[in-house]
């Protein structure tokens, strides 16, 4: 079937395991040791006119270090057969098909040195009990501190910071070069309607991925879907491989979701893991949370229509990004799915601001009765004292000692796309 072959998407993640990261005179991967020429990388990142000074720090699991002013985390990836982070770093082109280099055990951490509103930023702990709550407490982290060039506006600065992190992520992954990967992970999904006869009995499951919330309008340079700031985006279908391969980046808003989690998308992975056995992965619908009721209603039934009518799904998993409006937006889309006979589970955050079970949800819609939660970001959490603070020189007095914070402050503890193992339990 030639048409079948050309339309199939096949992504190879070629993983190299990294157990050690060190500064060196050249960037390359020797066994499980990643050597990084920090000077050359710094020069590459500092070439952006929107940035002034750039500093790079390497921090390692087990070190008594707290990373402050965390803005986003990127997984090191480099595509061998296409553009990297297309539409933002590389030219606009499809991602998700071909070979991509990936480093396990390493992450690039972007910090925000501009905002005074540090309450919106997160921290990462490299040791102690709080390190175990986040994926980034056990990765070797390249921390980028980049200061704005004089006159750089907020949106320009954040776009430059993110671009620097993407460049660094590609730069590190390219160090794996031609060498044989430690593992090759293959993600191959044929076009949605083509189900082999032996799998025809499996329930068809779609994933509805809310990729942004219009609670805050996106900046012009705030590329989220293939570089598009998704300002007027209506629900649309993408192949899950596109999400895994850099087509979707987190916007500049807030905490509780990282680009890293999207590149390693846990729902897409969970559906792939059961694909062909317990279910048939029917595809991904991307949506944005809308700011007004007519937009929300329109988006909800359009998303449900794609799930039910275009993908022909029997079931759907839905996740949200952001706060209360996205939470309700997701639930409305789920209710529309249920109304079309598509069974749903939704991944919610515990929205209670006083720790009461009554306040966990902001909706009660017909059929939306299967809910998994990613914990309460408001629950207090004590961060232990550390020896050193990285990425937030100005906040050392506040961050180095024992600090009262919340789960939401700890980057990676709560990932709204479902990567987290933190859960709010009703007691």
């Amino acid at each position: 079937m030639p048409r079948y072959t050309t339309a199939a998407m096949r992504l190879e993640l070629r993983w190299s395991d990294v157990e050690e990261v060190a500064a060196a005179a050249a960037t390359w991967l020797v066994g499980a040791r990643l050597e990084v020429d920090l000077d050359a990388l710094r020069a590459l990142l500092a070439a952006d006119a929107r940035l002034g000074a750039v500093r790079l720090d390497l921090v390692h699991p087990g070190e008594r270090v707290r990373i402050g002013r965390v803005f986003d985390v990127i997984a090191p990836r480099a595509r061998l057969d296409g553009e990297d982070f297309p539409g933002v770093l590389g030219a606009v082109a499809r991602a998700g098909d071909g070979r991509t280099l990936a480093l396990a055990g390493v992450a690039v951490v972007a910090t925000d040195q501009q905002t005074d509103n540090v309450g919106t930023l997160a921290v990462i702990d490299m040791a102690g009990p709080t390190a175990a709550l986040s994926a980034f407490g056990s990765t070797h982290n390249l921390v980028i501190s980049a200061w704005p060039a004089p006159g750089a506006g907020r949106s320009d600065y954040l776009a430059a910071v993110r671009l620097a992190a993407l460049k660094a992520a590609v730069h590190l992954a390219r160090a794996a070069g031609e060498r044989e990967p430690d593992r090759v992970e293959v993600f191959a999904l044929p076009p949605s309607p083509r189900v082999p006869a032996e799998c025809a009995h499996l329930p068809r499951v779609a994933y509805v991925f809310q990729i942004h919330s219009h609670q805050r309008p996106t900046g012009l340079d705030e590329g989220i879907l293939y570089g598009d700031p998704v300002r007027r985006m209506l629900p649309t279908i993408v192949h899950p491989n596109e999400v895994l391969d850099g087509a979707v980046l987190r916007g500049f808003m807030g905490r509780s979701v990282t680009t890293w989690a999207i590149q390693n998308h846990p729902v897409i992975r969970a559906l792939y893991a059961r694909h062909g056995r317990a279910l048939w992965f029917a595809g991904v619908v991307v949506t944005v949370a809308q700011a007004t009721e007519p937009e929300r209603v329109r988006s909800a039934f359009l998303a449900a229509g794609l799930v039910a009518h275009a993908l022909g799904a029997d079931g759907a998993v839905l996740t949200k990004i952001g706060g209360g409006a996205p939470h309700v937006d997701m639930a409305q889309a789920a209710a529309q799915c249920e109304a079309l006979g598509v069974k749903t589970t939704v991944v919610v955050e515990d929205m209670s601001t006083d720790g009461s079970a009554e306040g966990m949800l902001l909706f009660d819609l017909p059929g939306v009765d299967a809910m998994v939660n990613v914990g309460s970001s408001q629950e207090p959490l004590t961060l232990p004292p550390m020896d050193r603070v990285v990425g937030a020189d100005d906040l050392v007095p506040r961050l180095q000692g024992q600090t009262r914070a919340t789960y939401g402050t700890l980057c990676g503890a709560i990932e709204q796309v479902g990567a987290t193992r933190v859960m709010a339990e009703v007691r």
Partner: protein, 351 residues
Amino acid sequence: MDARPLRVVCYVNQYFGTLGGEDRAGLGPQAMEGAVGSARAVQQALGEAGTVVATLACGDNYAAEQPERAVAELVRLVAAAGPDLVIAGPAFLAGRYGVACGALCAAVQAELKIPAVTGMHAENPGVELYRRQVHIVSTGGEAARMGDEARRLVALGLTLARGETPGAPAVEGYFPRGVTRNVVTAASAAERATAMLLDKLAGRPFASEVPRPAFPAVPAPRLVKTLEGATIALVTDGGLVPRGNPDGVEPLNATRYGAYSIEGKTGLDAAQYDNPHRGYDTSWVKQDPHRLVPVDVARELEQQGAIGKLHETVYSTVGVATTLAHSARMGREIADKLREAGVDAVILTST
């Protein structure tokens, strides 16, 4: 391990304290040395782990008819015995007894900072009254399995006395207190969501991790007048405040609202208003406040006679991450003020 044996005080009613039946229900609070009546089952369950140093008893009617006085007297008796843990009941289906157990445990925890635990049947009114504040072990309706139930009370009590956090309600056998607490699970949320969906698709039972809220339905009251004769008020949770936010309405998780006069105004001047709301993009409202609070149109309708009168006070708060308790309170207070002012109907703009 702390070598000192745990000091436990038990609380019982007149019947379980073997002081008498309904005829002695008016008995006031009293302290007896050691384990008396059903407290002996508690002592047996404690074994070497602790000693029941005193058994407090109070008649059911005494506790039910003057609860505040009874609890205050009992708390003083508890304080005098200086325990590490208070175990009340179990009260099974005995309503007056259950309520007294719940009230005493709540007071002991709050005033003496001493951990307390009680037990009763799901239908005991004490459960609904006190399960949010007190760990209440679920028991049968009658004292048929006293030994076993005392053991479960003691196990949970010992956990609390050690300053440890008890496990989930279903595991430890107590009624959910309706509070949430972050725990770490074996599988990620994404894996659990996928597994739950497959259960739902196959028609298998599944346990949602979030209880659906029981939002009571509020039927909209009928306007008994014609609009032409009605006084209409404007109320919003969209966060419009006079510049400077004089009432300090919080940008999220609000506990305050403001009452702002529009007397003599045919519209709202954008320069005089601000919006601290952090739940939506407020730039359009800041540009023109009428997008949220339509004083301009409402005045026109008033002048045309389409509505009787526009109420001269606008109520405004910020509705984002607001607790249910504060929302209900603010709503009630605003509604009371509107009713007092003779307002017939409200246009409530939300965002």
